[in-house]
């Protein structure tokens, strides 16, 4: 077990407004870390710092003991779907093949090895039968799986997912977490969500992020920490199983 990602006293300001303050985090290569917190709490910013898309205002970030920009091809990133054009004319297979960029040995286009890996990624994400469909013909949940397959085609050592449950209805959500469970057998996962109940069933560690980061060693997030996180009392629904949910005010 080694450290895949380490953040040491990382702060990030946007126009002098502090977004993240003194974040310390170590992600081991067998972790399944859930990061929860309110909207605007800095969750997506944290992922972008790890990916090297943003520079920290202070502190250091190491990914596989290198600077994030140098190591980011070893990470798989699943963005929120809303960030790009859903009417773009592209097939499922061509989207997934983009994961081979930066790894392919083919000068022009992709070679058979790339196609084989993309196919394996689509099989794993359970979208192989959709491979010839245009992206515009897919449902929100299917698109999410395509983006996961694209990230898997990168052959990542860590998978970072930004709000992957936003477009998925509850039933699809179940099988979605089965998929993440299976993936976790071989790679580390960081999963961001504002949906506390959804996240806490699957992950091995939960961190709460609202400008500062509070880590919890074991899964269940207690109501105190959530109240602290959201600063106002929230109505909590605790899922023991899928079917029985009870309110804890």
């Amino acid at each position: 077990m080694g450290a895949a990602i380490t953040l040491d006293n990382v702060s990030f300001n946007y126009d002098d407004r502090p977004i993240l303050e003194n974040i310390n985090l170590t992600l081991h290569d067998d972790d399944f870390l859930g990061i929860v917190g309110p909207n605007g709490g800095g969750k997506s910013t944290l992922l972008k710092l790890i990916l090297g898309l943003l520079e920290p205002s202070s502190g250091t970030i190491r990914v596989f003991d290198r600077a994030p920009e140098q190591a980011r091809t070893r990470l798989g990133y699943v963005p929120q779907f809303a960030t790009f054009d859903s009417a773009f004319p592209i097939s499922v297979r061509d989207t997934v093949l983009q994961g081979r960029l930066g790894k392919t040995r083919s000068r022009v286009g992709y070679n058979r090895h790339d196609h084989a890996i993309a196919e394996q990624a689509m099989r794993e994400a359970d979208i192989l039968d959709l491979r010839k469909h245009p992206m515009t013909a897919l449902s929100g949940g299917q698109r999410q799986r395509v983006l996961i397959a694209r990230a898997l085609a990168c052959e990542p050592e860590v998978l970072l997912l930004d709000e992957p449950t936003a477009n998925i209805d509850p039933h699809q959500g179940e099988t979605f977490f089965d998929l993440l469970h299976r993936l976790h057998e071989r790679i580390a996962i960081v999963l961001i969500s504002h949906d506390v109940g959804f996240i806490s069933r699957s992950v091995t560690r939960v961190a709460c992020l609202n400008r500062t980061l509070v880590c919890h060693a074991t899964t269940p997030v207690d109501s105190e920490s959530i109240k602290h996180l959201y600063t106002t009392p929230v109505s909590m629904v605790h899922h023991d199983t899928c079917l029985s949910a009870k309110d804890t005010p």
Partner: protein, 275 residues
Amino acid sequence: MTFFDAIAQHAFLQHALVGGVLASITCGIVGSFVVVRRIGYLAGGIAHAVLGGMGIAFFLGKAPLSGALISALLAAVLISFVTRRGHQQEDTIISALWAVGMATGILFIAKTPGYNVDLMSYLFGNVLMISHQDLWLIAGLDGCIVLFSLLFFKQLLALCYDPEFATLRGIHVDTLNTLLLCMVAITVVILIQIVGLILVIALLTLPAATARLYAATLLGMMFLATLIGLGITTGGLALSYTYNLPTGATMALLSGLCYLLAIMLPSRQFRTTQG
């Protein structure tokens, strides 16, 4: 004399026809990139800034086409730097370039000694005046664009689809974006010969926008847009010859009509496959 008889007889019509075919290819390829990347406004800025370079070249007694090429590439590089980091005054700067470029061109052309008829042909094109030499230049530029698009297709596709992901996969997104805008600049210069700089945007975006309604992939969109472009340039030429109409305007109107019909027809590719 019908259009087809006339083609067999007149070299200027043959040149115009070949020019239209060559322009359709770049329109299909680069126009598709422009439409999916939504940079029509940037392309408009480049097109109008070109008049500055043409005017200066004209004033200095050089070939306006070389002035056009230099100013188009300069404008492309400038715009790519301005848009690089999401500059706050991005649209203002492009508008300024647009207007200042045109004004510079008009001033230089006005101060050029002698009678000049060329201003109108720059603005609205004069496909019937294309020379043999122009055609070779256009063919060369066409070749550059086709070759570059073939070699870097997967990178360009990633840039247009999801620039953030492309960055994460190690693609130099900023450099590639500058090169894409340079392709737009070259296409603009080719199209100025055909429809003039004011109507460039019609041929650059409308065939591709029409093709997008039917195509499921970017490559399919490019092929379809090229075919539509062929129809528009050839049809526009035939109409303008038969009814004695300005060629550029006829082509631009045909493009608009084509797009309008396409969006009104019900069976569209992404409508039917949706859901």
